[in-house]
Subunit: 407 residues, 2 copies
């Protein structure tokens, strides 16, 4: 069961310049959408970030090569098989899919980027994917965002979609995005994908910079189990349909508001992955303030968010501040003065100056821990930097889900 | 249930120059040994390593100060309360215990080192400890190693003890040690302690060097859940009773064999902690070879040993090589050529050149995964360095144990 508000928005804005389709190609299962094609207008700019895992999957290697050559026109995603750990044969199959789609659509093979998610280490049924391409191209439509969000699901329990409109001066911009992922790797499932499009007109270089920066505050700030997938990819597309004027520098008057709106969409999509985390019963925001650098705040936040002891304590609704302090203590921050550290759960101060807060009561701890969404706020009291990471608890179901044999 | 061979050895060698006692002082529970005193001969040298957690407990702060001043004559350990997260009051209580014992024994307060393990964040009942000191001193004996091993247990399910005799030329040396720990922190329990003594005659500086090096191969190479405790301490004592000749350099003819024997004892004590890991059903040795540096081997081994996905797969007896490769891939090794990496489970090659091994069968995988002790061997094929880490699986019981409310 996903935690908290995970609803699909009432209004899903189509993005002029983007068409999508989702069809059942029978890659692994029958009668289940498993092939998603996203068509991008020729005028659009795109930005991509991919997994840092050195064991990256075949499609990730192919898409890096293709993206280096030209702007993408088609994104083709299959579920059911990650095409990871599949060696040279895997790369060839990813290339074949791109070439087939390129031939049908009349674009260069390098204008097609491949994405795969699903089981690791088994040969991808690329024939099924290729056979499905005609139908996928025939079904392209601007209103298929929700179908696409469902089509990229593997064991996700919910579709993940965010959409918003932002008015800046006399312009209206639209942003719509989808993501998938439910744990960094679900039993052999490899994993996080995100596609976001806007009709803003943004220069390619600036768009790439924006994606890297936004990613650092969204998909790079979530953790379910600390396991980084072999297939993680995120794409940001700017079709330019909303304006002829190019936004090509951070000084452009629309830049900041657009960046904020895009960041909101990305953070929502990232949080949806955590809310749908494997076995999650609680959604936790780990906010670290008062650091000397953002990096040390991030290190502390991740130490807490990754600690199995903290995560099991939250599963048990146990306000176990000793485990939080211990995790802060091993985050590797040099010369941290532990006697300055304060910790809050939502509005309840549980630690003051490195020890239990004088006014803290078990009763207050119980009340806050009974919530399904909790902010752990750690104040290091040694600087002005801050950072935030999103995570979930560690439950019996996490073990159950991940201990189930592949089948 | 602890995994595999965890038996106390048939012969426990007393160490000339060491006397121990364990008594029930009523620190937290009644009628349970919770106070252990170890007396060290005046002639002995000692070495100490302590937790790197910046939130270290009050006794750890006190013992660092004391140890900097003089060689210890008494080690005093209480269980039931870690005296961690207890601020200035905690430090005062640790000092009071040392002063009381020093007064009764006629030594300087700084010659007493305090150790605590148990619940974090509650005031230590130092009165009970101090009240118990007379009886503890009266009960000192050379044959109380097993009683001491039991006396330092908190939620450990077994006493942890190793003992051996090593003959070098015309000399017989004896080594006996005890440890405790069962997960880095059991529900609020703070955690690993180790005391090892030998009758060898080793110069203090060399002994400290030896302890640091040995610790890197033993207590610093185990992980249950990756959570580093606030109270970890390890002491190595050389009483010198076996020989008047001082071993004061690695060139001494007895040095290498002694180092090996001491390392064996430490590795055994460290492995016992993993075998008794919270909820453990499997004992895993993660051996990484072919690295360019020991550090990168260690990083890869820890990435695999910490991965919740690898650990749950082992709990499920699932030879899930994709999860192992993914963990290798995110260990942060720059320019790792993943197409060179081989992985073995015991004698079964599961991955060759970064993909599934051609001769691997699910049947062979099932056979090896049915064992309760398994070596994961990862060959990076890019150098001569190697390293080894010991860990256990992640089971329902881990979550259960750590989700139980403190009570």
């Amino acid at each position: 069961m996903a935690v908290g508000d995970v609803a699909v928005p009432n209004t899903i804005y189509p993005i002029d310049g983007i068409r999508l389709s989702a069809i059942a190609a029978g890659v692994r299962y029958k009668d289940r959408d498993d092939l998603v094609v996203i068509e991008i207008a020729e005028t659009a700019t795109s930005a991509v970030v991919t997994t840092k895992n050195t064991f990256c999957a075949a499609p990730v290697r192919v898409l890096r090569e293709h993206f280096a050559k030209m702007a993408p026109r088609y994104l083709v995603t299959n579920t059911g098989n990650a095409n990871a750990g599949t060696g040279a044969g895997g790369k060839r199959r990813a290339e074949e899919i791109c070439a087939a789609l390129a031939g049908k659509a009349g674009v260069d093979t390098s204008a097609v980027l491949p994405f795969s998610t699903g089981v690791i280490g088994e040969p991808l049924n690329s024939e099924a994917v290729i056979k499905g391409l005609d139908k996928a191209l025939d079904s392209l439509g601007a209103d298929n965002w929700l179908a696409a969000a469902n089509g990229i699901r593997t064991t996700d329990t919910i579709p993940k979609l965010a959409s918003r409109k932002v008015n800046i001066a006399d312009k209206s911009y639209h942003i719509t995005g989808i993501s998938k992922g439910s744990g960094m790797i679900r039993p052999n499932m490899a994993t996080m994908l995100g596609y976001v499009a806007t009709d803003a007109n943004i220069a390619a270089d600036l768009l790439q910079e924006m994606l890297v920066a936004i990613n650092e505050q969204s998909f790079n700030r979530i953790t379910v189990d600390g396991d980084t997938s072999t297939n993680d990819c995120c794409v940001l597309i700017a079709t330019g349909a909303a304006s002829t004027e190019v936004i090509d520098s951070p000084e452009h008057p629309h830049y900041q508001l657009l960046l904020t709106a895009l960041t909101d969409v990305f953070v929502r999509l990232a949080q949806l992955i955590v809310r749908d985390g494997e076995g999650a019963t609680k959604f936790m925001t780990v906010k670290v303030t008062g650091g000397q650098t953002t990096q040390e705040c991030c290190d502390v936040a991740y130490a807490v968010a990754h600690s199995p002891l903290v995560k099991t304590a939250f599963f048990a609704s146990d306000a176990n501040w000793g485990r939080i302090l211990a995790a802060v203590g091993y985050a590797g921050i040099e010369d941290l003065d532990t006697e300055q550290v304060d910790v809050y759960l939502d509005d309840v101060m549980i630690c003051q100056n490195g020890g239990v807060a004088p006014n803290y009561t078990e009763e207050a701890g119980k009340t806050v821990m009974s919530r399904s969404e909790i902010t752990i706020h750690i104040d290091l009291a040694r600087g002005e930097a801050s950072d935030t990471v999103y995570t979930c608890d560690l439950s019996y179901d996490y073990v159950k889900i991940n201990a189930d044999y592949r089948s």
